[in-house]
Symmetry: C2
Subunit: 338 residues, 2 copies
């Protein structure tokens, strides 16, 4: 009898179990099922339909201490937008399910929706449905977001080529450092680190950069940084059947992160590599297009993407440091791991 | 300061709050947002895209006692299919989010997926994505289902006309009686009532009937019976700005339900009117088409729909009994009500 628990097989094992029970071959209208940032469906028109769904559960993904209601509304939508951005698509229509305790104050929903709609308005997303149900304890926020993309502009995880440069659209580690501060410091001690707090609470999905990279054809493979680049780059390499070599000295980090690290005896580089929840875009592009990548990302984001490494034939993700080359273990936030 | 709780304002109040924070006018590509069984979106092709999302939370919508994992997988998908059936559409693609405790046994997911895929195969639905996350206590199942429908076959809640007959595709109250048995009786006492248990655990969404009623143009308004006809008919009347008069003696009830009622001192009619979770289709049609409705539903479902009342100009939902006409209060399962 099988008495293994989900903890024993991990998130990857669960996803495999779910896939095994499905169809061995997807119908042709499903261009991509499980295994990328979004599912990709054919439509009767010229565009493809992108679908992504993310669930945030209180005590696991957030607490009242780390994420006030307005930030929760913003972030719950932001993480879904980021999935669509990571494929080069345009988000269109959101569906929101809220599970919540009946004794919750009305002002919670008021603030949650203010945060949600502030980001929806900025990104032209329409809330078109959903449901509201009771939850006995933890609040549950499940969002499904639909978007579209022309087939020739779509960027999968699987397109990385050996020799490609690896790029990231912005600084890494800020969100993890912000979470550390929220968990370990008093409000009065946060002065000067507002940008780290904001990176955790109100991440800005890189929608313009994702669309521009898809439209230009510059990005061969793309993913958003949700679990930390060590893990997210692993997804690109796995789907593309390549390896990668990162340069430790090239990882972009903010001044605030570099200032905070020594003060709290933490390594800024560790946060940057494994922290997760940065929602920057990680992508690969031909070395011949280096200047084009710099000028395009500067134009759409106001800052150039940072070149942080190279796609390799050799398996595994490696980090080049002043002490030499070492394997980069994932260790981003992993669900169902002991 | 607003210190009202969600319990004070009820589910209707919450939905209003969510809508208020949204756009005052939906863009034209959203044909229907919040307020029907599904959202309805225009596509570049001939068909409309239907989207529905339902979240089931342990201890609120189910318990391990009332819904074993295989039944949970079936039912979580069935309730979403039913929403698409209620508009005359065809379900296509499902997205599944599971939130669950890490110490859950692997066999739970195995059984859950067996139930889910058994119904998905029967209805040609493809599971194309989703996510798996940790939940600290209650299991959470959130499903989003996409479907399609030709515009001329779509049936809204809002189309009921004064003088229409009110129909229901099958017997009512079985699911509520099944839940009562599961909560109050030992397994050894359930013999002879398997159909009531099945109605609660593995409801059959009326997909063929919904599609046929949409295609034929016979149904003016349609909804699925999830909260009990007293409440669900209220939605049709509210959206259509009509009232309704039901005939108590016409409400279809199964032999098992009629047999169980007196044995446990419960009213079968109460279960039928207010029990909910039957997932039969409730629809209205012109009295001139009475014979067509009977022959169509017999053809697609193997049993004729039951004519249970009339759409009226007079406000409110009324029940005609042997004691005269009385107002039919909703009192189906209502979230966030004291």
């Amino acid at each position: 009898m099988n008495t293994k628990t989900l903890n024993d097989i991990g998130e990857g094992g669960i996803i495999q179990l779910i896939q095994e029970k499905g169809l061995s071959r997807l119908p042709s209208r499903v261009k991509k099922g499980i295994g990328d940032d979004c599912a990709v469906l054919e439509t009767a028109g010229d565009t493809l339909l992108l679908v992504t769904t993310d669930t945030l559960i209180e005590e696991i993904h957030f607490t009242a201490k780390t994420l006030p209601p307005e930030a929760l509304g913003w972030k719950a939508l932001a993480v879904n937008i980021s999935d669509i951005a990571a494929m080069g698509g345009t988000p269109q229509t959101a569906f929101l399910s809220i599970g919540i305790k009946p004794e919750t104050e009305v002002s919670f929903i008021d603030s949650f929706m203010a945060g949600f709609q502030a980001l929806a308005r900025k990104t032209d997303i329409v809330l078109a449905g959903g449901d509201t149900v009771e939850s006995p304890s933890s609040a549950v926020i499940a969002i499904t977001l639909l978007g579209d993309c022309l087939p020739e502009r779509l960027v999968y995880r699987s397109g990385a080529r050996v020799g490609d440069n690896i790029w990231v659209t912005g600084p890494l580690g800020n969100a993890a450092a912000g979470l550390f501060l929220l968990l370990n410091k008093k409000a009065s001690e946060l002065s000067g680190y507002e940008s780290l707090i904001a990176a955790h609470q109100k991440p800005i999905p890189r929608l313009k950069a994702g669309k521009a990279l898809g439209k230009s054809g510059l990005a061969h493979a793309m993913i958003d940084v949700s679990d930390g680049i060590a893990k997210d780059l692993g997804h690109i390499c796995e789907e593309s059947r390549t390896g990668a070599l990162l340069q430790a000295t090239s990882i972009p980090m903010s001044d605030e992160l570099l200032r905070l690290g020594p003060q709290v005896e933490k390594s800024p580089l560790e946060w940057a590599l494994r922290g997760g929840e940065d929602y920057e875009l990680l992508f690969t592009a031909s070395p011949a297009n280096e200047e084009k990548v710099v000028s395009l990302t500067t134009k759409v984001s106001g800052r150039p993407a940072s070149k942080i490494g190279t796609i390799t034939q050799e398996d595994g993700i490696w980090l080049d440091t002043d002490k030499g080359k070492e394997p980069l273990e994932p260790g981003g936030y992993v669900h169902f791991s002991n």
